[in-house]
């Protein structure tokens, strides 16, 4: 039985992990390498490193940290942030990333998903979509959730999957940072539209939110969160134990 994946997301700027609430007001949390090792040891199924650096110095620091993490942590690593070209894919894959997530880069260059999937395989290309309701319609936002692209989200996601995105991260801007649960309505709409794995992001505040997610929408493959893991509000091994108890397939590790 394939298990539901639990994925902590580490937003990294200038070599440190940060997490925003509704994408503003960043707060320093910890060292990415030690946090990654910690998560791996307590049962995280995968890690996402999101590079929110703007400067080239910061970018070099990011690849250093990625390399160090990948040489110590042996679970799948996805890298996102600042991925605009196939050369960016190459840069992070060489440092030990397994999958690369594209967001604004795919919006700016509609052939990026296609080109990357042809070169590295669909399994390597993750579409990350920041989605928000505008007048009752799901719209895709770019630039870290600041800019409404005007594109309808479900058709955008569908299009990217047809062009080779092997997984989709759906990040609801409406629920992000609010901690009242995942955006089940938005996720249901995406699951209905595509047949690749869907990763839910934005809104988890407690263990119960993950249980509700996987019970309500068994088509969802994974749950992603950041601050609740970083601040210890939810401990991954407790979460796994409760998922298991609720009959949700979860990878249990001996270390618990």
């Amino acid at each position: 039985m394939i298990t539901k994946r639990i994925i902590p997301c580490l937003d990294v700027r200038d070599g440190r992990v940060v997490k925003g609430v509704n994408f503003t007001g960043l707060q320093d949390v910890s060292s990415p390498v030690s946090l990654a090792e910690y998560y791996s040891s307590c049962g995280a199924d995968e890690l996402v490193f999101y590079d929110i650096t703007a400067s080239s110095d910061g970018r070099a620091l990011f690849t250093e940290i990625l390399t160090e993490t990948a040489s110590k942590v042996f679970i799948p690593l996805t890298v996102g942030g600042g991925i605009n070209t196939v050369a960016d894919f190459d840069r992070v894959l060489k440092c030990g990333a397994d999958k690369v997530s594209v967001n604004s880069g795919a919006i700016r260059n509609h052939s990026l998903v296609d080109e990357a999937a042809k070169r590295y395989g669909n399994q390597c290309v993750v579409l990350s979509a920041d989605v928000k309701r505008v007048d009752g319609v799901f719209r895709v936002f770019a630039k870290g959730g600041r800019e409404n692209t005007g594109m309808e989200a479900i058709s955008w996601i569908k299009r990217c999957v047809e062009h080779g995105a092997g997984e989709v991260v759906v990040n609801s801007i409406d629920t992000d940072g609010v901690k009242t649960g995942f955006d089940l309505e938005m996720l249901a709409a995406v699951c209905e539209a595509v047949s690749v794995p869907v990763i839910a992001s934005g809104g988890a505040g407690c263990i119960g939110d993950f249980i509700k997610l996987f019970k309500t929408l068994p088509q969802v493959d994974a749950g992603l969160a950041a601050s609740i893991f970083h601040f210890g509000t939810v401990r991954i091994n407790d979460l796994k134990r409760e998922m298991h108890a609720a009959g949700i397939p979860a990878r249990m590790t001996e270390k618990e």
Binding site: G96, D98, N122, Q123, G166, D221, T253
Partner: protein, 209 residues
């Protein structure tokens, strides 16, 4: 020393790092002489079977790998590298593999229920079919990380473990010195490292007179 075959397919960083973390010197190489000197050989691979088989053939490494394997040197194929050990694959046409193990690589779509997603991606439990030296440090039900859309079929004589994805999918094979993992041990946390450890132990045993 263990040799990781470099034939221009896939990312070898994690594999190299995982051997380093268990204290096993490993070397990425495209040199048949290095393969001849190694205690064991790892054949990695991602992407399409046909392309990979052709690259392996063109570089002359196929011949070298087959020669070493037939001399009894432990060989571990990982993911597509495992699939390459079989006679043939039906991925986009029909392509010949190395023929070191009996069996055919087929689409998982043929055996899994229609509502299951492809690829089979994520952590799944190993169900041990037959005790293999590769599993000497592994318990039934431990989880490993998979990413694949094709699986090895008709391989009963080498089948060591399966994973349940609506159908039992070949997860690990081993016949004498020829071993393969459909999953990625280098991405399967502690469990994966223990499997790599077991392979390294097999390789070193071979070295002794």
């Amino acid at each position: 020393m263990l040799a990781i075959v470099d034939y221009g397919v896939g990312n070898l960083f994690s594999l190299l790092s995982s051997f380093a973390s268990i204290g096993e010197p490993a070397q990425v190489t495209d040199d048949p002489a290095t393969l001849a000197k190694a205690d064991g050989i790892i054949l990695p691979g991602v992407g399409a079977f046909g392309d990979a088989a052709e690259k392996l053939r063109k570089t002359g490494l196929e011949e070298a790998v087959i020669r070493e394997a037939k001399n009894g040197k432990p060989l571990l194929g990982i993911c597509l590298g495992m699939q390459l050990l079989f006679e043939k694959s039906l991925e986009y046409g029909e392509h010949a593999g190395l023929g070191l193990l009996r069996g055919t690589v087929r689409p998982i779509r043929e055996v899994i229920p229609a509502d299951y997603k492809i690829p089979h991606i994520g952590w799944n439990a190993l169900h041990i079919i037959r005790r293999s030296p590769l599993l000497s440090n592994t318990k039934d039900g431990e989880f490993v990380y998979f990413v694949h859309s094709y699986y090895a079929a008709d391989c009963a004589d080498s089948l060591a473990a399966v994973a349940d994805y609506g159908a039992p999918l070949t997860a690990m094979v081993q016949k004498e010195n020829i071993c393969g993992c459909q999953f990625h041990p280098e991405k399967s946390g502690e469990v994966g490292l223990r499997i790599l450890r077991a392979f390294a132990d097999m390789a070193h045993k071979k070295e002794q007179p």
